[in-house]
Symmetry: C2
């Protein structure tokens, strides 16, 4: 199979063109395009260009605001509550993360939560912003209910991601960016399309019973929290998903749990809750970056079980993907994604992603 | 089987007597006794009276300091770095958590890390202190290496717990207190003693291969991170264990990863790193407690898969255990634990735990 190679700049410009064509403010469109391109660049295609049509539709239908700016509602030197004004998630996310970093420069930590937000792309995009200031960053968001709690049979929690980034020496970093579900819904869909079964512990059926049949998960069932069944520790993943909800919907006064609108159903405003944190290591023990590098070296340098599969640190798979993009000079996309997005663009009078004929083997 | 019922006050006094007999300051002994009794009261016997001999030995050998107080080394309105002065973990933990709460009252958040600490009992003891002030509390500690990272075969991380407590209405609360390993070592030891196999995903052998034989885990193998194998998402638990290490050993400048001394080997000072956080919901959206109660009701009120196993919220199993203790008028201990501790007490001239003949069926 081959993929269509497109430069990052071209994808960035294309998304900006599409979003502004439906009335998005220029700098909001740029913020969204940057997060989506970064998603693809890091290899998380489920959170990149692939989702552009959803954002275009959100602006077209007016379910997401195209004008205005987020506003601080309540503030201390170290905290803030932000009203996202129903703007695009990345607009809210950038605003909050900047504010958290500013506070962390002054008092060592900034803890900022927002209500009135929308899907913000990869959580790691925000936590990583702290790295530029040599700080630790964190980001959390609630999402549409897709996860079934331990012992239950109803989806009441989103895949509620946790992202934590920490700087090491010489530009190296630890970047954890993980859903609190065992896997993403996309992975179950992929297995279904291929006709494969899924490993036990990924999902359950409509009766809450563990299943290895992806169709049962997708038709009325749900994803399991990290850890899978109760016997293998799924209640821990369930607890972590609740923790994220507490930091997001509950602390921010946004929608939460099953009150968040159903995934892909955009009949009402999302009002997602999100949480952004920056921590300045300079307020703690000196030599943070050196110790962080040593911690990662201990792991990367360890003898692996299988010599073809080295022990990694969080962020390493994404680093490998970005290196590959640099080598081949762009991001490799499935041709169907490019065609689909070009169709969307045509409908709103936007010039297509080009070229479509530069194929690279995958 | 029956258990020996002993009042909380008696256990509290007994631990204080033993600790002061070997020279521990009175209020340090009280702090330790309170955490251990609370561990047992909540049903976490692995972190209660059962470990008293370890603390007695640490003071006797001088590997843990019996005098002095923790000191703030660096401070902002919202953060602090504390030198635990090699004092008992609960002394350091109480000092840091009080400081975090004080800061959260002033500026909405307090983030405090300590180096030079020791084992501090259940992590939830510290996060729960924030509940009394109607705040969110968090506590993290690194521990002796027992967990093998995904793809590796060497223990480089502790069971590094995460505890998060959040207040709801009418004294109700969410209390997550979980190791970032799939299970605690004690559970594997218990299966071994019973001659049972363990579920796949709990541990690996010395070659890093998943095993269901507890003996292989205990002889040169290790625990797996939450999520188990790589296929079922164990790399997420590995990432969370690293996150805890980053907040503890790395941020505080304490020992970290495989530099932490081996479990049960007290040949040198522990120098553990710990992290304590308090967040004041009043700095964010009003109505926090109501939403928190609703979030828990959504889950507790859900129809369960099995009507005998209701869906719980984090902290509910401990609540049930405490209620049982209240009903029977004390904490039920295995008679062997009582006998063992009374032997320890006799050696240091301390009067025994009494009575030993009030048995309750279990």
């Amino acid at each position: 199979m081959s993929r269509c190679l497109i430069s990052q700049l071209e994808v960035q410009g294309f998304i900006e063109r599409c979003m502004t064509a439906v009335g998005t403010k220029a700098h909001h469109a740029r913020s969204l395009a940057e997060v989506l391109v970064e998603g693809d660049h890091r290899g998380h295609y489920s959170h990149g260009l692939n989702r552009m049509d959803m954002y275009v539709k959100d602006i077209q239908t007016g379910i997401c605001a195209k004008d205005g700016e987020p506003e601080v509602e309540k503030e201390s030197v170290a905290t803030a509550l932000v009203d996202g004004k129903n703007l695009l998630g990345p607009v809210v996310g950038n605003f909050c993360m900047n504010l958290a970093i500013k506070k962390a420069k002054e008092v060592g930590i900034g803890w900022v939560v927002a209500h009135g937000s929308n899907h913000y792309g990869i959580a790691g995009y925000y936590s990583m912003q702290a790295l530029k200031e040599n700080m630790i960053g964190m980001s959390f968001t609630n999402t549409s209910p897709l996860v079934v709690p331990t012992r239950g049979k109803e989806c009441t929690l989103g895949t509620n991601p946790i992202s934590v980034a920490a700087p090491a020496k010489d530009g190296d970093s630890f970047v954890l960016d993980m859903a609190t579900s065992a896997v993403a819904l996309g992975k179950v869909e992929l297995h279904d399309r291929r006709g494969d079964t899924i490993p036990e512990g990924w999902g359950c059926d409509a009766e809450g019973k563990l299943t290895t049949d992806p169709k049962r998960v997708l038709s009325g069932g749900g994803l399991l929290p990290i850890g899978g069944s109760e016997a293998t520790g799924g209640y821990k993943g369930y607890g972590l998903g609740m923790m994220v909800e507490m930091f997001c919907g509950i602390l921010a006064g946004a929608n939460y749990s099953k009150h968040v609108r159903t995934w892909k159903v955009t009949d009402r405003v999302a009002n997602l809750g999100q949480c952004f944190v920056a921590i300045n290591p300079e307020n703690f023990a000196g030599g943070f970056n050196d110790r962080m590098s040593d911690l990662m070296s201990i792991h990367r340098g360890m003898e692996p079980v299988d010599s073809d599969s080295p022990v990694l640190a969080a962020g390493d798979p994404e680093r490998t993907n970005m290196k590959k993009c640099e080598e081949i000079g762009g991001i490799p996309y499935h041709i169907n994604v490019v065609k689909y997005m070009n169709n969307c663009a045509e409908k709103i009078g936007v010039s297509p992603l080009l070229p479509c004929d530069k194929l690279v083997p995958m």
